[in-house]
C-alpha cells in the first residue's frame, strides 16, 4: 500500500480509530492492531512475502532471547552469525543473486572464457533492505549487551513490522523504537497535530515535487544523447530534487503517521541540500542509514582509530557498502565511491564535522557570499553524483557527464509532451525558499507564529496539489526498489 494512495487514506483513519478507541488503550491489543494493520499494509502489495517478515521476526526474537541466556562467548557468536547469515542471506538472494551471477559471467567473458549460468526471475520484496537492517540492529545490540531482549513476541513483531516505516524506513534502532512499543501510549493533541502536518508536508514533497519532475527527468535521462549540456544539467538538478522530494517525503509521512500512533521515529533528513560540505550533507541525508553503517560497520572496522590509512579504508568501505545497499548495480557502487572521494578531503583536514549549526546566509554579507558559495558548490557536487545514481549503466552515466560537463551548448528544453517548463522552475524556487524558511526544525514544517501565515501555508501547499497532480503517473516511491 502506498502512502500516497486512496487505499491508505481509507486505511489510516480506520486503524487510527481502532487503535485509540478499542478496549481503553490496552497495550497488548494496541500492539496486536499494529501487527494486523502492518501485515495488511504490506500484504496489500504481495501476501507471499509476509512469510519472510514473519520468519525474520521469529528468528531474531528467538536468537535475541538465546543470546541473553547464553554465557559462553563462542555460542553467542554462533547465534549472532546465524542471525546475520539468515537475514543477509535473504537479502543477498532476493536482491543480489542475479547481479552476482551476471557480474561473474561478465568477468569470465572479459577474460576470454564464456560460461553459462542462468539467472533467476526473482521479485525483490518491497522494503527487504530496510527491515533486514532493523532486525539486525536488534540482534547486534543484544549481542553487545546494549539492549535487553524482549520476551513479548507481540511487541517484537510490532517493532519489526511497524507499518509507517516498514518498507522505506527510517531504519529504526531497537533501542529507540522497542521501548516505545513496550510502553503504554497516550494520545497527545500536539503530537497528533504535528503528525498530520508532517504527513501533509511529506505528501507535498512526493506528489508535487517528485512526481511532477519525474517525467521530465525520465525524458532527459532516457534521451540524454539528443539533448544539450544545459538540458542535461537541468535534468541532473531536477533529479536531485526528485529523489529528495520522493525519499524525504516518504520519511516525513512515516514519521507523521507514527506520531498519530504515539510513537516517535528518528529524523531521516535535515534539509541536506543546505550543506556547506559533504560531511554536513551526510549528517543530514538518510540519517538512519548513515548512522546504522556508522554504528554497525564503521566503528567495528575501527572507525577513525588506528592509522590514517586504516581510517580511510574504513571510510571507503562504508561508502561502497552504502552504495551497494541501494541496489544491485555498479552505478550505485560508483556513486558510493564518488562520495567517498568527495568526503576524503574534509576527513583528512578534519573539517567534516565543521558545520554543526544550520545555515544562515542572510546573517551577514560575508556569510551570504561564503556560505552561499559553499552550499552551491556542495549541491553541484552532489548533483554530479546523482547522475551515477540515476543512470542505468556506468557507461550511460559517463556519457551523460561527458556531454553535460565538456560539450557546452545551451538550448531551450522542450518536453516532448509540451510541458510548460517555467512552472517547474517556479515550483523548485518556491520549494527551496520554503525549506530555507523552515530549516531550523525538519519536524515542524508549518512552525509559523502567526496562525494566518500558517493557514496560508496550508492553503498554498494543498492548492499546489491541484496545480501539479497528474493522474497518469506511476506513483510508487523510488526507494521501494532498494
Amino acid at each position: 500500500m502506498l502512502f500516497n494512495s486512496i487505499d491508505f487514506a481509507i486505511f489510516l483513519p480506520i486503524v487510527f480509530v481502532l487503535y485509540w478507541f478499542v478496549n481503553n488503550n490496552n497495550l497488548k491489543l494496541q500492539n496486536f492492531i499494529i501487527i494486523v494493520a502492518s501485515y495488511l499494509f504490506y500484504g496489500w502489495w504481495d501476501w507471499r512475502f509476509l512469510s519472510l517478515i514473519i520468519f525474520s521476526t521469529l528468528i531474531d526474537f528467538s536468537i535475541g532471547n538465546l543470546l541473553n541466556k547464553e554465557k559462553e562467548e563462542l555460542k553467542r557468536k554462533v547465534y549472532l552469525w546465524t542471525s546475520i547469515i539468515i537475514n543477509l542471506g535473504f537479502l543477498g538472494f532476493f536482491k543480489y543473486y542475479n547481479f552476482f551471477v551476471d557480474s561473474f559471467v561478465n568477468a569470465f567473458t572479459f577474460l576470454g572464457k564464456d560460461i553459462e549460468v542462468s539467472s533467476l526471475n526473482i521479485i525483490l520484496p518491497v522494503g527487504i533492505s530496510f527491515y533486514t537492517f532493523q532486525t539486525l540492529s536488534y540482534t547486534i545490540d543484544v549481542y553487545r549487551k546494549q539492549l535487553d531482549p524482549t520476551k513479548d513476541i507481540l511487541a517484537f513483531s510490532a517493532f519489526v513490522c511497524f507499518f509507517p516505516q516498514l518498507v522505506a524506513g527510517p531504519i529504526e534502532r531497537a533501542s529507540n523504537l522497542l521501548p516505545q512499543i513496550l510502553k503504554k501510549r497516550k494520545f497527545s493533541f500536539n503530537q497528533g497535530s504535528d503528525g498530520l502536518k508532517l504527513i501533509l508536508w511529506g505528501l507535498f514533497k512526493k506528489l508535487v515535487i517528485a512526481d511532477s519532475l519525474s517525467p521530465i527527468v525520465d525524458d532527459i535521462f532516457n534521451n540524454s544523447e539528443t539533448y544539450s549540456s544545459s538540458t542535461l544539467f537541468m535534468g541532473a538538478v531536477f533529479f536531485a530534487f526528485q529523489i529528495y522530494g520522493d525519499f524525504s517525503g516518504y520519511s516525513d509521512i512515516a514519521i507523521g503517521t507514527s506520531k498519530l500512533f504515539g510513537i516517535e521515529l528518528m529524523s531521516n533528513f535535515k534539509f541536506p541540500y543546505f550543506s556547506r560540505n559533504i560531511g554536513e550533507f551526510w549528517r543530514k541525508w538518510h540519517i538512519s542509514l548513515s548512522s546504522w553503517f556508522k554504528d554497525y560497520l564503521y566503528f567495528p572496522l575501527g572507525g577513525s582509530r588506528g592509522s590514517k590509512f586504516q581510517a580511510i579504508r574504513n571510510i571507503f568501505t562504508v561508502f561502497l557498502v552504502s552504495g551497494f545497499w541501494h541496489g544491485a548495480n555498479w552505478t550505485f557502487v560508483i556513486w558510493g565511491l564518488f562520495h567517498a572521494i568527495l568526503f576524503l578531503p574534509s576527513f583528512i583536514t578534519k573539517s567534516n564535522r565543521k558545520f554543526l549549526d544550520s545555515i544562515n546566509i542572510l546573517k551577514s554579507v560575508k556569510s551570504f557570499f561564503i556560505d552561499g558559495y559553499r552550499f552551491i558548490q556542495t549541491f553541484l557536487l552532489i548533483t554530479i553524483g546523482w547522475v551515477f545514481f540515476r543512470s542505468n549503466t556506468i557507461t550511460d552515466a559517463f556519457h551523460y557527464l561527458k556531454r553535460m560537463l565538456f560539450t557546452f551548448n545551451a538550448e531551450l528544453y522542450l518536453h516532448p509532451r509540451g510541458y510548460r517548463m517555467i512552472d517547474y522552475f517556479i515550483l523548485i524556487a518556491f520549494f527551496v525558499f520554503y525549506e530555507y524558511i523552515i530549516r531550523e526544525d525538519e519536524r515542524k514544517p508549518f512552525n509559523f507564529k502567526s496562525k494566518y501565515i500558517r493557514f496560508l501555508a496550508y492553503v498554498l501547499i494543498i492548492f499546489s496539489f491541484l496545480l501539479f497532480y497528474d493522474d497518469g503517473l506511476d506513483r510508487s516511491f523510488l526507494y521501494f526498489q532498494f
Binding site: F189, R420, F463, L466, D470, D471
Partner: protein, 318 residues
Amino acid sequence: MFKLIKKVVFYSILILISLELLVRVFHLQNERPNRYADEFGVEKWIPNQIEYSITGKRKQNVGKYRINSIGFNTVYDTYNPFVDSVEIAIVGDSFIEGFHEDYTNSLGQQVDKVFPNLKVLEFGYAGYDLADELHLIKAYEHYFKNINHTFIYLRFTDDLERNHYVESSRLDLNSPIRTVAKQIKSLVYAKDIGLFSSVAKTPNRIKSFVKGNKILKIKKEKEFEKNLKRLENFKKLMRTYPIEKSKFTFLLDERLCSAPFLKYLAENNFNVLDYGEKMDASKKQTTLVYDQHWSKEGRKIVANLISDYICNKSLMIK
C-alpha cells in the same frame, strides 16, 4: 483526540473554501455547456452558450466555444445548406467539436478559410460514436442531402462498440445534483484532472486484495474478437442507416483500425481519409499536454489533409 478531529474538520472546511476561491480567481475550471436532446432525439448542446473550455492542469489549454442555434460549436449562427451553394460537413465526437481551441480557429474553420466559396458545417459533440453520428445524419437528412460532401470522424477503437442507436446516459449529466455540483468549481477542476479516478478504482483494488491478490482478470475479449464485433457493428449500422457512399468519407486513423475492417471498407467502396500516417510523420506534438485530443499541430495536419482531399476529389463542384 476529539479536539484534533474538530480542528481537522474546521481547517478542512476553511481550506476547501479557500481552494474554491483560488480556482475561481485563476479560472482553472472547465465550463461545460448544458446538453439536451432535440425533437429528433439527437443529443446536442443547448443553443447560444458562449464560454471557455479549459483542458489540463494549470490552464494549459484554453478554447472559447460558441454553441449556435442548431446546438453545435461553430462560427455559423445556423446551417442553411442550399442546392446551389457549396457546403462540406464534418460530423464527429470531441475531436471535431473542438472545445480545445477557439471556435474561430476550429478544424472546420481552418478548412473553410482555404476555400473562399466554401462553408464548412461542423457537427461535433463529445462522446458521439458512429451510431450517434448516423442517427444525426438521418434526423437532419434535409441538411445533409444539400451538403456536397460529409466527413464522418471514426475512431475504430471507440466508435463501433454498438450496432444501434439509443439515447445515451450523458443527458443524466444535467441532473439537479450534477447541476449543483457543477457550481462547485474546485470539484469540477479536481474531477477534470483525474483526482477522483483513483477513488473510483478503489473498489476494484479491494476486490483484488480480497481475492488473494490475484490481479483482477477483467473479462477482456480477445482483441481479434473485439475487432470482428466492431466490423459486424459497422455493417449493421450501415444497413440501418444507408448512406450515399460517394457523398461521404470516413476520416480515420488507420493505425487504430483492424486489417479486416480496412479491407471491408476498400472492397465496398467506402471513401477513407487516413490521418494517422501524417500524424506519425510529424516532429511536433500532435496531441495536447494532458489530453488525447489534437493539439494545434494535430488539427493543422487534419485540416490540410481535408483541404487537399477536397481539391483532389473536386468536391467543390455541385
